[in-house]
Amino acid sequence: MTIGVETLLSADYKVPGGKLLRVRLRETGGRIESAKISGDFFLIPEDSLAKLEMMLEDVPLREKELKLLVDRFFRGTSAQGLGVVPDDFVKAILSAKLEELGS
């Protein structure tokens, strides 16, 4: 049995003409263990972000699955973003790279 190695991934994704999404992920074997999303964007209701972070747990780090999940989140919560659109969350997560030492 192979036990996956946990890696830390991060991205600062600036939405063109919009706001900044800062993603910090723990990933194991191609799946998200945990996700922290921060930044200077707007999202109402504000407490919905924690729900998105929770929904991302154990999701494969692949575009198709992430798109489906983010769409489900926005439909289910009627959340309204400003400075970000749903696809920006997907792009930010997919752009996350290995944390550099010392960063």
Binding site: R22, S38, F41, E46
Partner: protein, 255 residues
């Protein structure tokens, strides 16, 4: 003509209480316990983080210690701002569905509810204009940022205006990510912001700007502002919010 309440309640040396009052007012307005309200206030040296921001990523805590800068988180999104006595904060709370902002669309709220401040600044001789998403700019430089929300049955909008702030401290205490500066083609945060004092080329007080914005709001929205206190209920809510939320590291620093 509709009358809104004008509140000048502030706690300059207690940014946590200032933020508690900031939340207590829209809660009261949304519940119908207070009329539409405009509040003006100041903080001493303080970083105010947006509710989605990471304190550890955004704040230079060493510089904060050196400059005596406090860190507090607000309940609205958007970016971190630096407050000092040369920075004027204003907040507008209206009941949800108010004819001025009938649609629950945050971009429209920012545009509509920045207009009073824009008019006020123009009246002082500053060539201010609203710049989407949430800025007021003068000649391409940011002089005010806004944030807001639609919750608790209210529409809430607040902004901070750099009247005569110390921009050198602002540049030290905030870690502005390079990716953000690069997107705006500027080398530092200081180069993309300005103050009302610098734009007018003369001394101007936050009181002058406050008075100008009062006129700008009355003119823009066809309302009359009447000075009034916070209610006992609002103060009680604010104190509860202070104890349970805004005085807590868990709220201010742990995102």
């Amino acid at each position: 003509m509709e009358t809104w309440r004008l509140v000048d309640v502030e706690y300059r040396d207690d940014p946590f209480m200032n933020m508690s009052v900031e939340e207590a007012i829209p809660r009261a307005v949304g519940e119908g316990k207070a009329p539409g309200t405009v509040r003006f206030w100041h903080n001493s040296n303080t970083i105010v983080l947006g509710c989605f921001q990471s304190a550890s990523l955004e704040v230079n805590f060493v510089a904060c210690k050196e400059t005596g800068t406090t860190v507090v988180r607000r309940f609205t999104g958007g970016g971190a701002v630096y407050h000092d006595a040369g920075n004027l904060n204003y907040a507008i709370s209206l009941r949800k569905g108010h004819p001025l902002v009938p649609d629950a669309d945050l971009q429209f709220v920012f545009q509509r509810l920045s207009q009073g401040a824009v008019e006020g600044l123009r009246g002082l001789g500053v060539n201010a204009e609203f710049q989407p998403i949430n800025d007021i700019q003068v000649e391409g430089k940011k002089v005010s940022g806004a944030a807001g929300s639609i919750r608790w049955g209210s529409v809430f909008h607040h902004g901070c205006i750099l009247v005569a702030s110390d921009l050198s401290i602002l540049g030290r205490v905030l870690n502005v990510p390079q990716v953000k500066l690069a997107d705006r083609h500027v080398a530092s945060v200081q180069k993309r912001v300005t103050t009302i004092r610098d734009e007018l080329g003369k001394d101007v007080t936050t009181r002058d700007v406050r008075d100008g914005i009062v006129q700008g709001i009355e003119k823009s929205y066809g309302v009359r502002l009447e000075e009034g206190p916070l209610t006992k209920s609002e103060l009680s809510t604010a104190k509860e919010l202070l104890d349970t939320k805004y005085s807590k590291s868990a709220w201010n620093l742990e995102k």
